[in-house]
Symmetry: C2
């Protein structure tokens, strides 16, 4: 399949399964009082759209093992709702301004009500899963809770680095943090849950961990790159927001390794500021430093390497999977994560 | 039984079941990395103690229906862990300074890491329940999630009143808010879950809602009273903290109803401030206004009436319950909630 055809296929599958998930998801969002202080806020992020990668992965993984869309839909809805709940809290923790092209929830509703809405949505998110499968529900909910532990660990590490202005971080630390923070919930859990549903708990789910890890890290690095060099209208968050937030992205870590003493001092001071203390000029200076040291190119190269490794892992798995559009979709994802704008 | 004997019995049962719960609970708190940024924070509130009312209610309710302590312990642990998770987020939302005699978690760890630790503990809290009962686990987890919805609704209403400086609130609005915010999770859920476990899902759980509602509202009003007139060392939160936070307690609502135009204007300005804009002098003035209008006495009288109603509801239920210490404990609670210091 050509790259163009692959890209079209990924978009088509994501749109198709995304649409089904969006419709099913609406049924789980309460439409009652208190609206203004709770349920309007709970529904805000889910209604903003999103690329629906997680539900797409879950449903496709179920189907390549012989499951149906209906089998996998409750899990897909649970994962997507949970993802949105965590975004609300992430945005508070990161002091982010924009999400999916609009102001973040805590900017519009205030931090207290936003945190509470995130809690409500997180609790809500487990319901489709528990309702759907009296027998497997508890097992799958437990598995989801385990992935959530890892996610909170990754988030804690990243927030801790920022709070304490930690500079002694290398690429391995970064990849471990991303494995925990991003991969378990974004790629590994949806694929494993889909495979669990499709195979009726008959296969060894650990086989998907490596594919999910490589795919997820490539995805995260690309996401961080788009934050620096992407198109604001399509990206939906404030440009260079990661720099404003002092996030330890791969590019920042590379810069810390490559910078001379003077630059490193400037960087330490910049990263040690609170968000409000940073200025457009200081963000611009760090951004220029990154260009001087080819940090963007370095991150791109690493993302390509990781996507290649994901491709390789998928090839090892693919003999056991049912041929068809879902399998082609999964196979095309490593290329797609790098090419999406 | 004399009031003194009743008080002793309640303390003895709470200590006994509390101790068992605390020991079982420790096994669910991860002892691994990242400690400093996550698991030390997750364990902080549970390790500070607390009166263990929720686990006590759950275990006693199981036993009066023929269940054992071991049957009920996983649910008791889940409820207590969840309660602690929600306290972390409540303290952020309320900008509280103290919890159980020490600085609140977000004051020591910073808000981002505290929110994340609360998420981690909330996810963790469902595990004992799901693990314990392959068959009933999903059902009970679902029930817990439903109570959580109501809790988030109550919290949303209270936070919304504060954010928008709503003054048109009467006692009925207050009681409905407390039913949602406090009663479902503090009294109704533990009792219902215990009864569900003890009776093996054989009884009509709605019978406990009224008992739990009256007990829980009496408990909340007493808690708010202790915040104004209690002993700081035993209470464990900053005194008059509710006033500093602009919380709509029953006493504030009474004051809004009873105040003259000048007082009402002062109150509107006071409640409309942010926490940092309030001064010790302005808190003191509102506190004195409450005394002028007998708001404390009014709240005490209402709490007594509610505790009496709880007593009455318990009498209606008690014929079906197994006699013994657990039943006496439940019967003594309406008096105890008012007399605890």
């Amino acid at each position: 399949m050509s790259r163009t055809a692959e890209g079209q296929l990924v978009r088509k599958v994501l749109e198709g399964y995304g649409q089904l998930t969006r419709e099913a998801l609406k049924g789980w969002l309460p439409s009652k009082e208190p609206r203004r202080y709770l349920y309007d806020l709970v529904a805000d992020y889910p209604n903003r759209g999103g690329r629906m990668l997680r539900p797409g992965l879950c449903i496709a993984a179920a189907r390549v093992f012989g499951g149906t869309v209906d089998d996998a839909l409750p899990a897909a809805v649970s994962i997507e709702l949970l993802h949105n709940a965590l975004l609300i809290h992430d945005d508070v923790e990161d002091e982010s301004d924009e999400r999916r092209g609009k102001a973040t929830l805590h900017r519009t509703a205030g931090t207290p009500l936003a945190i509470n809405a995130g809690d409500s949505l997180a609790f809500l998110s487990l319901r489709p899963l528990l309702h759907a499968r009296a027998k497997m529900g508890a097992l799958m909910a437990l598995r989801m809770l385990e992935e959530l532990d890892r996610m909170a660990e990754g988030q804690a590490i990243e927030l801790g680095w920022r709070r304490d202005n930690v500079l002694a971080i290398d690429e391995q630390d970064y990849l471990l943090m991303v494995l925990k923070k991003t991969c378990w919930l974004t790629t590994i859990l949806p694929i494993r849950m889909g495979a669990l549903i499709g195979s009726r708990d008959e296969i060894d789910l650990d086989r998907f961990v490596r594919f999910g890890f490589f795919l997820g890290t490539a995805f995260q690095i690309q996401d961080d790159l788009l934050n620096l060099v992407g198109d604001h209208a399509r990206y939906g968050k404030e440009m260079a927001g990661d720099l404003w937030e002092g996030k330890r992205t791969l590019m920042v870590i590379r810069l810390l390794e490559q910078s001379n003493d003077t630059e490193r001092e400037e960087l330490r001071a910049f990263l040690g500021c609170s968000r409000t203390e940073r200025s457009a000029a200081s963000v611009e200076r760090v951004r220029a430093m990154m260009d001087r040291h080819d940090c963007i190119d370095h991150a791109r190269a690493l993302a390509h390497g990781l996507a290649g490794a994901a491709q390789h892992e998928f090839d090892l798995l693919s003999g056991d999977l049912i041929d068809g559009e879902d399998k082609s979709f999964l196979a095309a994802l490593p290329t797609w994560v790098l090419e999406r704008a």
